[in-house]
Symmetry: C2
Subunit: 364 residues, 2 copies
């Protein structure tokens, strides 16, 4: 059986909880190998029921039975025909589960109300738990780090292939599509998030959505992209000028790059997350805006493109070896545009190791 | 102000509730015009706070401020820097909101626990509500129906463009990519769900994910696709043979098509949802499998690709004029493959109106 399941079961026994429901899709994949995606939290493709001892269950509906049987090795697959809670009402007493944990951070309030009714009927005690499996996921094994590196390297290859074709006259949508098409042609499952391509002032929105705006010569281009390869996500951002960069741009770029390097330098096991953010944020320079980025400096990447830890101004968590994070400072000026540079790195005992090789727009 | 907001405010006043939080992304768009997508329920791009009287608020973080100001006309935009609940703790007393409804069906259990603490501090009563705005959305205006028709027609055009190029030697992934690329080239925002392309036995999975399987001459092809155009979703499924269909296939296809036509015939304002499902399901014929489809016959489509009503064996809801639904019976035989046919239709007083014109594979 999957080693992660063994660890989770040991945790349940330590806490004297008889079983746990896993609803969060990346946790489900991490524990079972079952890859079906959810179409939003209201439309799950299955739920794990992990007893503190014995074989775990994957509960799903008829649409996913075949895939569940193919992928979730070691799992007992059960189909719910009248909904999850009606099936649980049968299974829980049969397994003598009297206390049941569930993922409070990935469980709808309305579903919890219905589950409470069911649990009351069969005298099961519910235990809301937040982030337990995420906590396991935050430290990556060397095999997972290899997977993340492969994902980011493929991401860089895709970027370079399309980057070499970018020229004035192309639209943001066109470049975004070319990126996503190339990702999948080269074997990615899908983009890890909606690709951002933003020209000029559009780049002032940190989460810009590509438009049909046409690239003009000399304009700024910001591309934020990532893909999923064998389940693992990548994420990187590059900003460059279509043509010859002017001095204002270069001056601002240098500040962002300096901030990024300061963040990378601060990244090491034992350091507090917000101190990494602070190291980047305290870089000073002529950016034209008082404030640095309103978002955090970066965050964890793994099976999900956004996961723990958070490198924000408020996070007091301590970095540990094996965490994988982005370092992505930026500046945003609504009248002018924005610059963001983003790499991924794995935290090591004595520093960090970059998962990127690409240096587009950073040779300044 | 948006007419939908006026209706929601009237509802709140009738129920003597001072305000409501809107967290569900399609509801947010419906009420405000704000189009930013969420990256999962744990990463919202904003929340509406609708007081029973007066101007509504859109609460968001720094990443989305510009877009919010551009799109949410009539809204007061406020930024949360220390999280949503900390901002609410200031705003609610200022607006004299003493009872606050929230969308229980799109609110995490863990967030509700935190909101309860905040509400207790400022003596605000919380009122969980399920599906109120969805209920408003279920009856489409003629303008919305026009939007859905445009979306489905574009979907059909995309299908036909790519269909005419399909030949043995292509992979499922390749065809799926061509569909999604063509969607966006022709102006769609994005696919409304992950395009399904399944050959032969792969089509036995109702939610198949495209693989690198290569199409052989004479094999069955199932394509289930949809796109988003100006916010509105389309959804259709076609099944056909790459080459000359054999008698087994045709016999099974005829049963599915008959079931679809029976469903369409039963579709009319005043009919109970499950009776439409039943009308299709009771069609008999030599399908090679005892059971018809394990899923429901269809469901509503609008700003979301899956919304109310549900045409399932259990739904006792009554159909009303202006509802827009899919009719998608199917058969699935693991050793052989699957056939599903899916059209969209708008419910009218005296029957229904199909949103499809395409008849690929249905001329039998």
């Amino acid at each position: 059986m999957n080693n992660n399941i063994v660890k989770l079961q040991a945790y349940l026994r330590r806490r004297k909880i008889d079983g746990m429901l896993i609803t969060e899709p990346s946790n489900r994949r991490y524990l079972s190998g079952y890859t079906a995606p959810d179409h939003g939290i209201q439309e799950t493709s299955g739920v794990l029921l992990v007893p503190a001892k014995g074989a775990p269950f994957l509960l799903t509906d008829s649409r996913f039975l075949l895939q569940a049987e193919e992928e979730a090795s070691g799992y007992i697959i059960r189909q719910y025909k009248k909904g999850l809670f009606s099936l649980l009402q049968q299974i829980l007493p049969a397994l003598k589960i009297r206390s049941l944990a569930f993922e409070s951070h990935y469980f709808l309030h309305s579903s919890a109300l219905r589950m409470e009714k069911m649990a009351k009927k069969i005298k099961v005690k519910l235990v809301p738990i937040v982030g337990r499996v995420e906590q396991m996921r935050v430290i990556k094994s060397e095999e997972e780090i290899k997977g993340l590196k492969k994902s980011q390297h493929l991401n860089e290859r895709v970027f370079q292939l399309v980057y070499s074709t970018i020229e004035p006259g192309m639209s943001e949508i066109e470049i975004g599509l070319a990126m996503e098409l190339t990702m999948r042609e080269l074997g990615a499952e899908k983009p890890s998030f909606d690709t951002i391509v933003a020209f000029g002032t559009n780049a002032a929105k940190p989460h810009a959505v590509p438009t049909d705006r046409i690239l003009q010569s000399g304009e700024l281009v910001l591309i934020d992209m990532g893909l999923v390869l064998d389940g693992y996500c990548s994420d990187m951002t590059r900003t460059f000028i279509a043509g010859k960069p002017n001095e204002t741009y270069l001056e601002r770029l240098r500040v962002v790059r300096k901030a990024q390097l300061a963040g990378i330098k601060a990244l090491r096991a034992g350091v507090i997350c917000r101190d990494v953010d602070r190291a980047a944020r305290k870089v000073k320079g002529n950016t034209g805006c008082g404030d640095f980025f309103g978002h955090g400096l970066g965050g964890g990447v793994g099976l999900a493109v956004h996961e723990a830890p958070s490198l924000t101004q408020r996070s007091r968590k301590k970095l540990r070896a094996g965490m994988v994070v982005t370092i992505e400072p930026g500046i945003y000026l609504p009248e002018w545009g924005g610059i963001r540079l983003e790499n991924m790195a794995v935290v090591r005992e004595d520093g960090c190791e970059l998962l990127n090789e690409d240096v587009t727009g950073m040779d300044i």
